[in-house]
Symmetry: C2
Subunit: 314 residues, 2 copies
């Protein structure tokens, strides 16, 4: 692996942001090239919302809401409340400061600036030093198949509170979505690739689905490590466990590993799941057992250190 | 004049809103048909702002900022401050609650709803009982001629603080702008028409400029009354006096009356300008001298009563 290569990370929302928060405290943020999920992007009140990109961005900028993980710490909701009074739907919680991001992004996109460029402008303005890039500049949206039919992701996730069982995931725009500038190049020259502890279907899945990315992951010379988002048969955050179940899969760390068997070399699973290490190794991966629950800064940094070491980068 | 006809008002921003606040306290708001100026509408951060419509709407809804006259009382500016941090221009002061109006309007307009219909939705949601209608649903923007060249209205008015002397006013979109639904009909059947005390060039002017409106004012059987926005050679609010001066006109109530001589029957001027009454009458109008400075609710109602009486409506 070229020493000049970046550490390439595939990131969803809150879980990824927590992990990257630890990682950027033990390596120079400039070494990181983070590819973010846009499958859960949505237009709300006519504004382009990129929840996963923003969660990572706010976290790395040190302004994210400490408890909920998304949104901005100390934000107010005066605009959203007023929108509610006007009769607009306000199930998607957009804070006043957070809205500035969406207003800015929407205006720039309308002027023809790419999502990559807007994301860089926003991240720069907020002082984020790592590279944060949407997987694609084209429209690429996650749809979930449910007994109620095919639902837009945010409608299912936020408005319907992820109640409907998911029997499958589809992507709208897949035929035209191309990897954003730099993504395939950085994947090829990466010093290491990390799949953050994010939902395999709705966070990592939409990234892998963009043309050329999964193939580049199979071909890269760099070690590819994945951190299980499932710990003790449960998701640390979000609906991953329920989705695995309703899709007829085994809800386990090794169940996640199986989804990545064609390109992951190192699989990091929690100590409570140590009994699954053998099963993971049978998939042809090296299994690393460590504490993956990021309750605090210490745990975040410790996990990041283990991941780097597993790839020979520390 | 048909007794069933509405009281038809031509309105700019703060001055008009104050007058209409008084008027709606002495006649049923449902009797009022208010045509608002859209010449100072602007796209800011990609949002469609209609400052004059909003000022009238917020005032009649009882939520306008008491001192400044525009915006919402008690509003916060968290989003705008955050936009500033992102590097966006934030010279146009948009409060968080106020932003909800613009976000809602912009989204509805993008969905193909007319400005008239959106305005009605907003006014209804805020509990405004008078009819408030933009003069046109088409794009119709005021441009000011200055030594710096032709400037967009808000750029000149807010960003450049109306510093550049104005040598003329032009309108973009005039060829395609048609009066909004109901405007000409209500003008024809009005019980009375009132030109609120608004800037003749940038508030009343853009309304009169829309095709058919000035002509309908000349032809309506209803009495047409105008209230001078110039008192003692000064504008009570805004740049009207300076504009008259830089356009080579006499800064006086009778100077305003002259602009309307082809269709106004009754001209209301302040007691300090009583010496101009004769000059006004020489223009073929009836001059009514009264207190026009609306320092409080009492003065607003008193002025409204005088105006109604002057048209034989009280």
């Amino acid at each position: 692996m070229p020493a000049s290569g970046k550490i390439f990370a595939l990131a969803g929302g809150v879980g990824a942001a927590r992990f990257l928060d630890g990682l950027t405290r033990i390596v120079a943020p400039e070494r990181l090239f983070i590819v973010g999920n846009v499958g859960d992007d949505a237009e709300i009140h006519g504004l382009h919302i990129s929840p996963d990109l923003d969660t990572v961005m706010y976290t790395l900028a040190g302004i994210s809401h400490r408890e909920q993980g998304w949104g901005i710490q100390g934000d107010t909701f005066h605009c959203l409340d007023a929108l509610g009074s006007l009769g607009a739907e306000n199930w998607f919680r957009l804070g006043d400061r957070d809205l500035a991001t969406h207003i800015y992004r929407t205006e720039r996109l309308r002027r023809g600036v790419s999502l990559s460029d807007v994301t860089r402008e926003l991240a720069d303005a907020l002082g984020v030093r790592a590279s944060l890039v949407p997987v694609t500049d084209q429209r690429h949206r996650t749809l979930v198949q449910t007994p109620q039919g095919l639902l837009e992701f945010q409608k299912w996730f936020v408005e319907r509170r992820a109640c409907d069982p998911v029997t499958g995931v589809r992507f709208a725009g897949l035929r035209t979505a191309r990897p954003a500038a730099g993504v395939l190049e950085h994947l090829r020259t990466a010093a290491g690739v990390i799949l953050c502890p994010s939902n395999p279907f709705i966070s990592i899945g939409p990234i892998l689905a963009v043309r050329g990315i999964r193939d580049a992951l199979r071909k890269t010379a760099a070690p590819v490590a994945a951190i299980s988002p499932i710990v003790g048969g449960r998701a640390l955050k979000g609906p991953a466990a329920r989705m695995m179940k309703s899709m007829g899969m085994q809800v386990s760390a090794s169940g996640v590993a199986e989804l990545y068997r064609d390109f992951v070399n190192v699989f990091i699973l929690d100590t409570v799941d140590r009994f699954q290490a053998e099963k993971v190794e049978q998939l042809g991966m090296r299994a690393i057992v460590t504490g993956t629950v990021m309750t605090g800064l210490h745990e975040k940094k410790a996990l990041a250190a283990v991941v780097l070491k597993s790839m020979g980068l520390a």
